[in-house]
């Protein structure tokens, strides 16, 4: 619901603001620019999806994912107790995020969401695990901000790498706070449900 509400209010308020400030004539062009951006972004992302989804299928063949999901098991069972069959896919998604393979993590994450979605039809409380997966991806833990380092070098920084540790601290804190809050919300909603 939040997405619905967010989208329509972004659209309406922008259009009203444009009319009030006399910017109204450029709005159609801006909207079309947005969907043109979506097409070029999809081409860019799609190239990554094709390659990484292909590689992922090979990884599945080798059975590497079992080891990774066993390593993350203690953490996952606490954060997302209801994941069931999606555990391996979720583990792959999270480890790809940490390695900075954002583009590769997305299709895997979507597959994990689909698996959770199936599960959710049988057991509605799995929706909390879906929210947790969203939070973990949206506050993504990332080890190496390569793009930012490139930009800093290009801008002539004396020491581009000085931001590495602070960045790690910030990304860890944001993920911890997001996930912690998510767990609190889950407890709160489950308590409410028990009373009803």
């Amino acid at each position: 619901m939040f997405l619905q509400w967010l989208w329509i209010s972004m659209m309406i308020i922008s259009l009203l603001y444009a009319l009030v400030t006399g910017n109204g004539s450029s709005m159609l062009q801006a909207a079309l620019q947005g969907s043109a951006d979506a097409i070029s972004l999809t081409l860019q992302l799609g190239a990554g999806y094709l390659f990484f989804c292909g590689m992922m299928e090979i990884v599945r063949g080798t059975g590497l994912q079992h080891g990774i999901s066993r390593m993350l098991q203690p953490l996952l069972s606490r954060l997302m107790p209801g994941i069931g069959a999606a555990a391996e896919t979720v583990a792959m998604n999270l480890s790809m995020n940490v390695l900075g393979l954002g583009n590769a993590a997305t299709p895997v994450g979507m597959e994990a969401m689909q698996l959770l979605d199936e599960e959710c039809k049988r057991n509605p409380s799995v929706k909390h695990d879906m929210y947790m997966l969203l939070i973990l991806n949206a506050t993504s833990l990332q080890l190496l901000p390569t793009t930012v380092l490139t930009l800093r070098t290009a801008a002539g920084s004396a020491d581009p790498n000085v931001i590495l540790l602070p960045t790690l601290a910030c990304t860890a804190l944001s993920t911890a706070v997001g996930a912690g809050l998510g767990m609190c919300m889950r407890k709160k909603e489950e308590r409410k449900q028990r009373w009803l």
Binding site: N23, I58, M110, M130, D159, G178
Partner: protein, 162 residues
């Protein structure tokens, strides 16, 4: 470099196990294509809204409105628009970072905080929007608010570190 080694490792493992790697790749890539097509309409909706916000001037008005609160947190005034743009648009916030590095210098306090912010956070709305395009459940519950508060905690920490 790391990616090259990982990919080499995966392919070697596949060769070692005598897997039909080519067929597996084709099957996976088919799914990838499907994913890309599924994402496109969702991205179009989101990017249209963001494009409208920018073109109408609403984005800069919102930045001006929120700037005092962010500066109160200890954020240099140049960085405030970046904090607001970051969850909405990856390309716009990257362009903003480039401008800040140019204007203030990469080793200034503004430059350091801006770099840290950019590197430590995600395009929250885009991520949620893409992931939700895969499922039939429509609500995102508390996921977006929790992510935003988490990101804000990261912003706060970056102002304390520099």
């Amino acid at each position: 470099m790391a990616v090259t080694i990982v990919i080499l490792g995966i392919l070697s493992a596949a060769a070692w196990k005598r897997l039909p790697a080519y067929d597996l790749f084709i099957n996976g890539a088919k799914q990838g294509l499907h994913t890309a097509l599924q994402v496109l309409p969702n991205l179009a909706a989101m990017l249209c809204a963001i494009s409208l916000m920018q073109a109408s001037g609403l984005m800069s008005a919102l930045c001006a409105l929120c700037a005092p609160a962010l500066e109160w947190m200890g954020l240099p005034s140049g960085v405030a628009p970046l904090v607001l743009l970051r969850p909405m648009s990856g390309s716009a916030s990257l362009a903003m970072l480039e401008r800040l590095l140019d204007q203030f210098g990469p080793d200034s306090r503004t430059g350091l905080i801006a770099s840290t912010l950019m590197g430590s956070s995600e395009t929250i709305f885009y991520t949620v929007c893409v992931y939700m395009s895969a499922v039939s459940v429509k609500g995102t519950g508390y996921a977006i608010p929790c992510s935003l508060v988490g990101a804000l905690a990261g912003v706060w920490l970056s102002t304390r570190l520099f």
